[in-house]
């Protein structure tokens, strides 16, 4: 099949316009070209939140790119004094913290701002619930990006540090310490600690490993990201499940609505019977 390119479609709009002109004079194109012309004042706050989310998302995306580029640059061989290097590391750290703050801001938007204004309006409720799902998915992707970025950077830093240490003192001390510590973690695992617990333990281990402050902060922050990621997981639907089926969602929401109508009816009945009494 020579089926590259977009699928075959046929427009019937010109025909439609002829029919429409029969019933009423055509308005100018610009006027029909709709779009969100509603005054912002009448918009629900969550709709504004969706737009704000998009803008902030773009900004964060660019910032993560920048940060990654800087980190890449940092490991390029060159001759820097310890002070210069420390300054660079500090700079990157501040940048990462900054991004992280913005991410928490997004997280807040998802968790708090996505509330429908009109609680009687089923359509608005459904729409805001879906919007929230979408934003959660997008936020999770962003967090994932920063997370793997920072983990990568942290690991590289650590490897470099180990190398430097190895030059410093030759001996089996470090290796012995490491094996001991691995055994400890393994024990924790068999005790059935959860994901986040183990992450904590790992942090504890790294602390005991006396890794430098920088790495500690980075891993610390990664831990925070992890938490946020886990929270969002509850909102994100997994692919290939019933929850991700369009028809299932539609039937669920109509069921939800008919239940609501049922409730209203009951309430009305109740009220009228009260009136009779």
């Amino acid at each position: 099949m020579d089926d590259d390119g977009p699928p075959e479609m046929r427009s019937r709009f010109d025909e439609f316009k002829v029919f429409r002109a029969k019933y009423r004079p055509p308005v100018k194109e610009e006027e029909t070209a709709g779009g969100p012309h509603e005054s912002p004042a009448r918009q629900s706050p969550w709709i504004r939140a969706v737009n704000d989310f998009g803008e902030l998302e773009d900004i964060i995306d660019r910032k993560i790119d920048l940060l990654a580029a800087k980190q890449q640059d940092f490991f390029r061989p060159r001759f820097l004094s310890d002070e210069e290097e420390a300054a660079l590391q500090d700079e990157m750290e501040t940048k990462a913290v900054e991004v992280q703050k913005l991410l928490s801001e997004l997280d807040r938007m998802v968790q708090v701002s996505m509330v429908p204004q009109d609680r009687q309006n089923m359509e608005e409720i459904m729409t805001s619930v879906n919007a929230r799902k979408l934003l959660s998915t997008r936020l999770q992707a962003l967090i994932q990006r920063l997370k793997s970025n920072q983990e990568f950077y942290g690991n590289r830093l650590r490897r470099r540090e180990r190398k430097q240490k190895a030059f410093g003192k030759v001996g089996g001390d470090g290796a012995y310490e490491q094996i001991k510590q691995e055994e400890r973690v393994a024990k924790f695992m068999s005790m059935g600690y959860t994901d986040s617990d183990i992450q904590e333990l790992l942090l504890e281990e790294t602390r005991q490993d006396q890794v430098s402050e920088e790495i500690k902060t980075i891993l610390d922050n990664v831990q925070k990201l992890n938490q946020m990621f886990q929270d969002l997981n509850l909102l994100v639907t997994e692919q290939g499940t019933m929850l991700d089926r369009i028809d299932y969602n539609l039937s669920q929401s109509s069921q939800y609505v008919s239940n609501g109508v049922e409730q209203l009816k009951k309430a009305e009945e109740h009220q009228s019977s009260c009136a009779v009494l």
């Binding site: 699928p7 029919f19 019933y23 919007a131 019933m242 109509s254």
Partner: protein
């Protein structure tokens, strides 16, 4: 779009799998046919229907377009495209004005959907409207919509030619839903109670619906295939006639080359045996025992660990299913077991020897491990339930007699075994009826007194005895039933016994296999006789044999998933469907799409027979 999604999931899964050394043979790589999957065909269209911009959108569908998009597109994908609400265009609730959203109405060009769209336009609740039809709209439809567009909000009117429900990459349904024919099952979707089989009882609007669906597929594939029809079938001939009329009326639209494309219109009545047999491949078993509905199913509520939301079983987004859906019961159970073991070992990291980095890796992949565990739980729960059903109905015994009747000729022995099974209380009525119907097709002629009819009358199955007449009428009383069964000459039975012993439960071969082989090697009878499959379009020039490459087989009356498996094996050149000699006779590029108006299982087929002509 959907490809991209699949790549990502596959990538991440394979990562996690290789990490835990799950044997990749579970997901054996298959040779991909060059042609694109039907899932992609539809999702490419949905991509066009819903533009990818940042505006907030609402999508209104009707009861035909909803399953079309649901089987090929996901809620997450729609959300990513800014569709924040999907609803029926005929919603019975009052939607309030939402002027900051754009509305896309995606419907079938039929009166009641168009009327509902008009209603929506008159209310003008959204900032603008796009109207997309899943087929050719008539000027009358456009006229009523134009009249209803009081505020002139419509900005786009288009036709997207995806008018089919995808079952597998190469299997599709064109459903004609008649509300009266459906009942709502507990927790599940509507399931057809019966379904028209007999040509005389097929309403013209169904014939039209099928023809329109096929015509849309032509446009989607940018082909105008040669059309062949099974002459004997009144049903298939009516569809062909209607299709020819559509092609003629809108000649510009269908103005493509035919190349090596063929549409073959067949009738289910050509092979009433296949939908009477107990199936033993995974997907077919799911449909037989649980009922697949647009690639989803629900386990009975009393099944332990059953997910009340139900399960999606689609080769599009379930890798384990995709790799196992055509395997037989034995191989499947083996693979599920391996899958469970692998998952266990993935979750139980060998702690005594694990290094710090291994633990860390494990932690990072915990998400993927979770979805692996979810998938394992799903298939383990389902197959466990299936094994209970098989045991409870003693289907191994039932199926053994079925397969023996199909593959060998031994009337007295088979009749004795049949009678023994009929006496047993634990064998279900529906299975007894199927055995009797098979025996009748195999050993009895419509003119003689039927022994099984007497058997049927004498037991709890007495209400079913008229089914025999319906079945014979359906197949055609003037036809020899021998061609439905395997060759039973002395030599061929020796060959079967000593050469391809294979699996005794899967000896049956659908008639479709023979028909397809003839079609692909240009040996299918072209005559206008009742045995023929004449061309309805000008036949390809003679001289050299015409070897089709893009084949659509459409079965009027419904297809089975056993036939779906056959088509899969043909497309992937697996399963030894055709021998090397036969393969040499056909085009190496040959690829088959199988379509039907219903997905049959034995229950639906028998019930539909019972409703009679």
């Amino acid at each position: 779009m959907s490809n991209c999604k699949k790549c990502v999931t596959f990538h991440s899964l394979s990562l996690s799998l290789s990490r835990f050394k799950v044997s990749m043979s579970l997901f054996s790589s298959k040779k991909e046919p060059s042609s694109k999957s039907l899932f992609t065909l539809v999702s490419d269209y949905v991509d066009q229907v819903v533009p990818a911009d940042k505006t907030m959108k609402v999508l209104l569908v009707d009861d035909v377009t909803l399953p079309i998009i649901s089987t090929s597109f996901s809620q997450t994908q729609l959300l990513k495209k800014g569709v924040f609400l999907v609803d029926q265009v005929r919603a019975n609730r009052q939607r309030s004005k939402v002027k900051n959203m754009r509305c896309i109405i995606f419907i079938r060009p039929v009166r009641h959907s168009v009327d509902a769209a008009c209603e929506e336009l008159r209310m003008g609740k959204y900032s603008s409207y796009s109207i997309v039809f899943c087929g050719v709209a008539s000027p009358e439809h456009l006229d009523s919509l134009a009249r209803a567009d009081v505020e002139q909000l419509v900005q786009r009117v288009q036709e997207a030619f995806c008018d089919l429900c995808v079952v597998n990459k190469d299997v599709f349904l064109i459903e004609h839903n008649h509300p009266d024919l459906h009942e709502i099952t507990v927790g599940g979707g509507p399931v057809p109670r019966t379904h028209g089989l007999f040509a005389a009882s097929i309403p013209q609007d169904k014939v039209r619906r099928l023809a329109e669906g096929l015509a849309s597929l032509f446009v989607a594939q940018r082909r105008r295939p040669h059309i062949r029809v099974q002459k004997r079938s009144g049903f298939a001939c009516r569809v062909a006639e209607e299709l020819m009329r559509l092609l003629k009326n809108d000649a510009d639209l269908y103005n493509y080359r035919s190349k090596n494309a063929v549409l073959l219109l067949l009738d289910r009545s050509d092979d009433p045996v296949t939908p009477l047999l107990t199936p033993w491949t995974y997907q077919a078993m799911l449909h037989e025992h649980l009922g697949l509905h647009h690639n989803t199913l629900h386990l009975p509520a009393n099944v332990k660990d059953a997910d009340p939301d139900g399960y999606v079983l689609s080769e599009q987004d379930d890798l384990f299913f995709a790799a196992n859906m055509f395997l037989n019961w034995g191989d499947l159970c083996n693979n599920v077991k391996t899958y469970v073991d692998r998952c266990k070992s993935a979750l139980n990291l060998d702690r005594s020897t694990a290094t710090m980095d291994e633990i860390k890796d494990f932690m990072q992949r915990i998400g993927q491990t979770k979805s692996l565990a979810g998938s394992v739980a799903k298939h383990a729960t389902i197959t466990t339930h299936l094994s209970h059903v098989v045991k409870e109905r003693d289907l191994l015994q039932v199926s053994l007699l079925e397969q023996d009747m199909v593959a060998s000729y031994n009337m007295n022995d088979h009749f004795d075994r049949l009678q023994n099974l009929m006496k047993r209380q634990d064998i279900q009525v529906q299975d007894k009826v199927r055995l009797c119907l098979l025996f009748n097709l195999r050993y009895e002629s419509p003119t003689q007194n039927s022994r099984v009819q007497a058997v049927l009358n004498n037991s709890s199955t007495s209400g079913y005895s008229r089914l025999i007449e319906h079945l014979r009428h359906y197949y055609g009383t003037d036809r020899n039933t021998e061609e439905l069964f395997a060759e039973t000459g002395v030599l061929s039975s020796i060959v079967r016994t000593f050469v391809d012993v294979g699996n005794i439960y899967t000896q049956h071969q659908p008639v479709l296999k023979k028909t397809l082989l003839k079609l692909l090697t240009d040996t299918l009878d072209q005559s206008e006789s009742t045995q023929g499959y004449p061309y309805r379009t000008p036949a390809p020039p003679g001289g050299t044999p015409f070897k089709p490459e893009e084949v659509i087989v459409f079965m009027c009356g419904g297809c089975t998933l056993e036939e779906a498996a056959l088509v899969h094996h043909i497309n992937h050149r697996t399963g030894g469907v055709f021998g090397p000699n036969e393969m040499a006779q056909m085009s190496p590029e040959a690829r088959v799409l199988l379509g039907a108006d219903a997905l049959l299982n034995t229950e639906l087929f028998v019930k539909s027979l019972a409703s009679g002509p």
